[in-house]
């Protein structure tokens, strides 16, 4: 009986809302949750040591609300962990205290996770609502723009966050695998958890706008903005996130083991290690085949000493480390190698996506003196087993492993590079050049809706009205936004169709005015 009931109303979703001294907007945020079309909710509000908001919570008189009133300010990560400890839902969703869900937010994401995908994480699109805060505290809305609408890309997620935390919903059980929010971080905690989720699941991108987040244009006292101004502290957070490795097994990421070859732990070796920490975003562990190293003194995470005889040859050191390596991919890296941005990821990406077997990739910057390579561990193990007396490169060749450099079309982030070039053309007013490039990207890469929107704008500016109209109608049939309504209205106005233009603009105005948010 209970099972049937649950099937009918759907599984419980726990919505976590940390808050700190924003009572004015919290009430609106809570309303937007409690008036969701999907009702089976557990809403956990954590007051992170701010002014008491008990009266606001009480005014809703809703049994789905759970209020944790903490007197001490311990940060957002701590608050989220506290909320997670109370969460009982099958799914977890998030809301900040000044943001809003649209009425279909939870229902849309639950439906996708329950019925439409094997992913355990889903995210929708949100409007960035830019506003001016008026003297009386009210918001004057200046725009609603879909700024972040990128399809899930795991490699990109490791490098850079592209999912808005408020739009995220995931299985609660995933937190057991990722581990809790990192309370040592004071910025980028959203990226940290999203990145860790990507170790265990794909993310389903839902092309619906299901809420909005507030972005005051002249408010620079936001905690997150202030904290980002301290560059050293900020970078420390970035490095912490990049070196975070959730407990294995990882179902979606294959590990990388870097065998670092040096005769001693001199300054040059320390500099190389530091560069690895600075520039590597793919998860890794470093293996140091040296007689004895005090890894603690290196103050670097993910470094493992492999004790070897001090007279061991280079090949012997590599073999000793290889026997301990946990990763599916191996990098052999000599001391002094020029480690910079994408030093390993360019070749690693090619290797991961390489359909032909038996290939190894020399890293960019590799020379005869400083030879560096990335390859599958199995191939290296087999080559060493078959030809233990040969040097590494010779043993690979003897085992029919083809060693080559990566090609330009094999490196990651092709989409972004093409997009950058096209945006540059656009910036320089070369609309006729930019428009077909956007179309090309839409046809050959992900992110179709985003690229088609840019193409429509470029065609309009290039005075190719027919093409702009064609694209714009297509987009507005699929997923209209304020921007695309405005663009199509301009197109209609160009053709003197004022009646249609007014209709489109009125729809845009309704979104801007929040007319669909009936609970407010």
């Amino acid at each position: 009986m209970a099972g049937n009931y649950e099937r009918k109303i759907g599984p419980v979703v726990s919505v976590l809302i940390p808050t700190f001294n924003r009572p004015r907007y919290l009430a609106e945020a809570l309303s937007s949750v409690l008036q969701q079309s999907y009702t089976n909710l557990q809403v956990i509000i954590v007051n992170d040591g701010g002014r008491d908001i008990g009266d606001i919570i009480a005014s809703f008189n809703d049994p789905r609300l759970i209020y944790i009133n903490r007197k001490q300010n311990l940060g957002k990560a701590f608050s989220l962990n506290q909320a997670l400890s109370k969460a009982e839902g099958k799914y977890i969703a998030y809301l900040d205290d000044d943001d809003l869900y649209y009425p279909n937010h939870i229902e849309t994401l639950v439906d996708v996770l329950e019925n439409q995908t094997d992913c355990q994480v889903a995210y929708s699109d949100l409007y960035k609502m830019c506003c001016r805060i008026m003297p009386d505290g009210s918001r004057q809305i200046l725009s609603k723009v879909v700024e972040v609408t990128r399809d899930f890309d795991r490699f990109f997620m490791l490098y850079y966050n592209h999912v808005l935390h408020v739009s995220l919903m995931h299985y609660r059980t995933l937190i057991e695998k990722t581990g809790p929010y990192n309370e040592q971080l004071n910025v980028l905690i959203d990226w940290d958890i999203a990145r860790r989720l990507a170790f265990f699941s794909d993310f389903q991108h839902v092309y619906e706008i299901t809420g909005e987040y507030c972005h005051p244009i002249d408010e620079c006292d936001r905690i997150s903005i202030q904290r980002r101004k301290d560059q050293d502290e900020y970078l420390k957070n970035v490095f912490t996130i990049r070196t975070t490795r959730p407990a294995k097994p990882w179902s979606k990421i294959e590990d990388l083991s870097i065998i670092f070859i040096t005769q001693q732990m001199d300054n040059r070796a320390k500099e190389t290690l530091n560069s690895i920490r600075q520039y590597t975003f793919y998860p890794y562990e470093i293996y140091l085949p040296l007689p004895q190293v005090d890894c603690e003194s290196l103050s670097m995470p993910n470094v493992i000493n492999v004790s070897v005889d001090s007279f061991a040859s280079q090949s012997q050191r590599i073999d000793a480390a290889l026997a301990k390596c946990d990763g599916e991919y191996i990098v052999i890296l000599p001391n002094g190698f020029p480690v910079r941005n994408f030093w390993v990821e360019d070749s690693l990406y090619a290797l991961i996506n390489n359909s032909s077997d038996r290939e190894a990739f020399e890293l960019e910057g590799s020379t005869d003196e400083l030879w560096a390579v990335v390859l599958k561990k199995d191939y290296l193990i087999n080559a060493r087993r078959e030809f233990p007396s040969l040097a590494i490169l010779e043993s690979l060749k003897a085992a029919d492993i083809f060693v080559r450099r990566v090609l330009a079309e094999e490196i990651p982030f092709q989409f972004d590079q093409l997009l950058e070039k096209t945006k540059l053309a656009e910036k320089n007013g070369k609309w006729q050049q930019a428009a077909p490039m956007f179309e090309y990207i839409a046809e050959h890469y992900q992110n179709q809706l985003w690229m088609k929107t840019l193409a429509a704008k470029a065609f309009f500016n290039a005075n190719n009205i027919n093409k702009a109209q064609e694209l714009c109608s297509e987009i507005n049939r699929q997923r209209p936004t304020v921007d695309t309504f405005l663009l199509e209205a301009k197109i209609k106005r160009t053709g003197k169709d004022f009646t249609q233009a007014i209709k489109l603009l009125e729809q845009a105005e309704q979104i801007l005015e929040g007319k669909e948010l009936l609970w407010i």
């Binding site: 900040d96 000044d98 943001d99 960035k128 830019c130 004057q140 809305i141 200046l142 725009s143 723009v145 700024e147 972040v148 609408t149 990128r150 490098y159 850079y160 966050n161 592209h162 808005l164 935390h165 408020v166 910025v187 980028l188 959203d190 990226w191 987040y213 507030c214 972005h215 244009i217 997150s224 980002r228 900020y234 970078l235 970035v238 520039y279 975003f281 941005n341 994408f342 982030f413 972004d416 590079q417 997009l419 950058e420 945006k423 540059l424 304020v482 921007d483 309504f485 405005l486 209205a489 301009k490 106005r493 004022f498 009646t499 233009a501 007014i502 603009l505 845009a508 105005e509 801007l512």
Partner: protein, 223 residues
């Protein structure tokens, strides 16, 4: 809201060109643009009351933008509220001293008040700022007719036609001015062009008849 892309330039291969912009122009102007467009469209279909409401709202969102004040001026002109129109156009001129539309608006007000000298001055100012402004051009022509002075108008009409060859609404007044100026051959050529583009144009046909009559008389006088 913690959008983690924002400060990633230190490692970004893509600089600011990825999907990580912070405050963009559109972030600040989008709502204003929607209202301004609504005002312009409503004005175009003659719904001036609605247009006025949109322009007023647009002005509160972007008080430094000239567009809403020009729109309010046009609406007031249409309602024949000349004083209100003048205030709106003057605000627009103050916000942007090079706003050709605002000067054209002030010129129209002066013209309606039968202050042709002031109207002529304002139309000229508008055309100096934007020689492409058809309303100012035709206004200048009308005012010239009202004042009986044409010398400066011909130049602006010629400039405009160079940019918009085939615009009959300007070709005809220019042909009329040529005729009035005694440049019958130039007038005839222009009228012939109009009739090629629009064979049913009766005004052009009538004027051509008159021009050809003058040309014939001229020839007779020479002989």
């Amino acid at each position: 809201m913690d959008i983690t892309q924002e400060n990633f330039d230190h490692t970004s291969k893509f600089g600011n060109e990825s999907q990580n912009e912070t405050i963009q122009q559109n972030d600040v102007t989008q709502h204003y643009l929607v209202l301004q467009e609504l005002g312009d469209c409503c004005s175009s279909v003659g719904n001036y009351t609605q247009a006025q409401q949109y322009y007023e709202k647009a002005a509160t969102l972007a008080p430094d933008e000239v567009g809403p004040y020009v729109g309010l001026g046009v609406v007031a002109l249409q309602k024949n509220l000349l004083d209100d129109a003048e205030i709106a156009f003057r605000v627009a001129c103050r916000l942007d001293g090079s706003c050709a539309k605002a000067y054209a608006g002030l010129a129209m007000i002066a013209q309606q008040r039968a202050d042709y000298e002031q109207a002529f001055k304002m139309y000229l100012k508008s055309l100096e700022l934007d020689s492409d402004n058809l309303i100012a051009l035709l206004g200048l022509f009308q005012t010239s007719c009202q004042m009986g002075t044409f010398s400066k108008v011909i130049h602006y009409l010629e400039v405009y036609l160079n940019m918009h060859p085939g615009d009959i609404s300007v070709m005809f007044p220019l042909a009329a001015l040529y005729m009035r100026d005694g440049s019958f051959e130039r007038s005839r050529k222009l009228l012939m062009s109009i009739l090629t583009l629009d064979p049913d144009n009766e005004d052009a046909a009538n004027l051509l008849e008159e021009v050809e009559h003058n040309l014939a008389q001229q020839k007779q006088t020479v002989m």
